[in-house]
Symmetry: C2
Subunit: 198 residues, 2 copies
């Protein structure tokens, strides 16, 4: 791979992304969004720099119609051939800032979301194996806050990235807390109905 192109077609990370490309067209050879183009080293594309980066918190909290027409989500203004199609849209945190519900229906937005999700740039979901989960759970029972050394050890033993271990423990703690809250709630409800019967 000589080029430093960053797009799905050349990195070929997940089948999802390839599917996405087929969906948009069969232009995988034209895909050319690269770090160089971000850095502006790719001089012939400088014109695209007019697009402003996605900074939700710099926007006014209640957007006017003019603002709405200016937001990144007001598509389709960017084509796939445009390198900034990837840069700007890639990691938009969903519809939280969608003020243009008046312009497109919920189903339209949903199908749009479906089509677009392939380039949103989320890491493909890791599917842990049975044995990996077992080991993680066993360690979790003893220590729900493994430090860097245990995380690295697990990562090595389970052939996973340390970051996946970290995230797994974060989600696992959240799950435990959730279930704890739920059981607390059930206990409270139980006590309540028992008190009523007396």
């Amino acid at each position: 791979m000589a080029s430093t192109s960053v797009c799905a077609a050349t990195t070929g990370k997940s089948p999802n992304m390839l599917k996405g490309i087929r969906l948009v067209g069969n232009k995988s050879s034209q895909c050319s969004f690269s770090i160089e183009s971000i850095l502006g080293l790719d001089k012939k594309r400088d014109c695209t720099l007019a697009l402003k980066p996605y900074r939700p918190w710099l926007e006014p909290s209640i957007s006017t119609e003019e603002d709405a027409s200016n937001t990144c989500l007001h598509i389709p203004i960017l084509s796939y051939e445009n390198p900034f199609f990837h840069a700007v849209n890639q990691a938009m945190p969903g519809e939280r800032i969608v003020q243009n519900e008046k312009y497109c229906s919920a189903t339209e937005r949903l199908s749009y979301k479906r089509e677009m999700s392939w380039y949103r740039g989320r890491r493909p979901r890791t599917a842990f194996s049975r044995s990996q989960i077992e080991m993680l759970e066993t360690v979790f029972r003893v220590n729900s806050y493994p430090g860097i050394d245990i995380r690295e050890e697990l990562a090595h033993k389970l052939d996973l990235d340390e970051d996946r271990i970290q995230i797994w423990f974060q989600n696992r703690r959240a799950k435990l807390k959730r279930s704890h809250r739920e059981s607390q709630f059930l206990m409270a409800k139980n006590t309540f109905s028992t008190n009523l019967q007396e």
Copy 2:
């Protein structure tokens, strides 16, 4: 490295950790906390399983004296030789749950914290180079929410882990928001004093 020991002495990840070991004693050869011992495969240490895992949210919010004497932070009950010294204490999120302030002074706790930080298991702080920061900043200017592919690309180009990139962008966004809030505040203050002068 034949053993799967997880402690700083054998993994030798950072000079900090080695310092910590020297601080506690010169027992680096005895260090033997391993995934096996967590999993209970190390039968001869099973007795240590009496120690309960650290689950702050399962504890009552206001602890009694009995509870306090039972918490992990009520040291020194664990010696370095005890494998669970590492497991249980490793990633305690600091003093947030310290209810035993009545038992040890602030300075005592501080020096304790100093001594103990080496095994808390935090990843050693990454020192980004000038050029790495430059590239990250340049990309950030265009896209503050890089997706997985750009993050991987950057990781490869800058010889960093992808999750360091992720964390860097999270912290960078927080910084931008902070500075934005500050400038908003200054502007408001300015407007206020100008209005007073009129």
